[in-house]
Amino acid sequence: MENHYKELSYDVLVVGGGIAGGEAALNLANIGYKVIIVEKELSIGGKMILLSKVFPTLDCAACITTPKISEIDRHSNISIFTSSEITKIEKKAEYEFVAIIHQKPRYVHIEDCTGCQLCEEACPVNVEDQYQYGLVGRKAAYIPFSIASPRVAAIDIENCTLCGACERACPTSCIDFTQTDEYFRLKVNSVIVATGFKLFDPLKIPRYGFDRFKNVITSMQMERQLAPTRPYNTILRPGDGKMPDNIAYVLCTGSRDKSVGNPICSQVCCMYSIKQAQLLMGALPMADITIYYLHIRAFGKGFNEFYGQAQEMGVEFVKGKVAKIKSADNGNLFLRYEDFEDGIVKEAEHDMVVLSVGILPNMGIDDVFDGEDLNLDEFNFIQQSDPLASPAKTSIEGVFVAGTASGPMDIPDSILSSGAASAEATSYLRRIKS
């Protein structure tokens, strides 16, 4: 294996190409540092690129993300490795890190693909589209999503029938089934970890019936339904295509809940649910929206006003804890909940339920560090060694953390945290010379 490594050298390695990693990379590239972004997905952009609009301004998420992503993509000081993961990072000495990158084959030559989608049309396969969170299918030869970066095809080899239809349809002959895994040995002076978060898996709360009842969906699935690149023609129940008119939100699904192993608040679910409720009232003017909550956390700038705006629009807020969800034959759902105001157990009928799933740590990145340990906090997010004075510092000098890799936060805070990480990295790199 040793002599199969291709050698690379950059100033900074950014692990994770979400909004936090992208922003940190841009800051560093703009002052002249050479940056490499290593992203495990087929596209950079993380979760943000898949959102509909953002609270509390209701700006379109794609309209903010797309120009930023294209700036990152075009920047002469930034190289992007997609479909790639870091398997090892070793600190040899101060300012001297050696990392191993494993790049999986995409079976498409990125530089030759024009994104014409003829391969997609030709491919006979239909499998669940992971970027639409399973609401609709996609082909095995596919462009991940319309605003992906790079916006080029990839072959999902696990679901490919090897029929070769895509290759015959491709006008530029960019599809290449001879591609294999590639390994790179990378030398850098500093590392930024921006591996983001994972969504809580609602299957862990079987009494909410997710997956068993198709009209119980996650907030990320609703986010997709509300986005311009939505899976359906409008907001519909995945169970039978009905346009819902009485939607319930269950806040704190998988957050502040010791029984599922996540005792902390996810910080963004209250606000994104209030956002979705407002968007739904626009999309479905006749619909009733009810939000079941324990406490509303509207702590940021403009957040409380945003909450008030939703109340004025007619969104109903019920302080209570949902215990169980049952389904009726017509696909409607019965929510059994404890009403905290009246102190009694009640039941309510809705025709669609959205579980406002929480934010969990994306585990595993600490395992790749060799020699020095990258410490985690008690909730398994990356530990900030000096959270008050230098929030981007980790347990390893020269390794910094940006965005939700260090804990739940929204987009503005992720961007602020990337600013901190890039400033800390700059100050570290400047010390090489002195």
Binding site: N126, T161, L162, D176, T178, K242
Partner: protein, 95 residues
């Protein structure tokens, strides 16, 4: 290794076998695609009507139909009198 550009799938076919599940999934998609298209040739239908006609669950019907909508075989028509279910019909690609 010398593999002709545009014909590289042969190379991988010699190295790898396709999973049975992948083949079965393809067969079942082809089957439901054909059934949905045939049923919609009779006229536009809602998801519950189509599911009843094909004797499949409404959720499977929804997933397959929305995939065909995405691939351009089907388009959205009017909504029913109760403002609940849309009718779906075939596109020019089929007719």
């Amino acid at each position: 290794m010398n593999v002709e550009k545009g014909k590289t799938v042969k190379f991988l076919k010699e190295k790898m076998t396709v999973d049975k599940e992948v083949i079965n999934n393809l067969k079942s998609f082809n089957k439901s695609k054909k059934a949905i298209i045939n049923s919609l040739k009779e006229g536009s239908k809602t998801v519950p009507q189509l599911a009843k006609d094909l004797n499949i669950s409404t959720q499977d019907c929804m997933y397959q139909l929305m995939s065909l909508l995405k691939y351009g075989f089907v388009k959205t028509g009017e909504i029913d009198d109760m403002d609940e279910y849309f009718y779906y019909e075939l596109t020019e690609k089929i007719r």
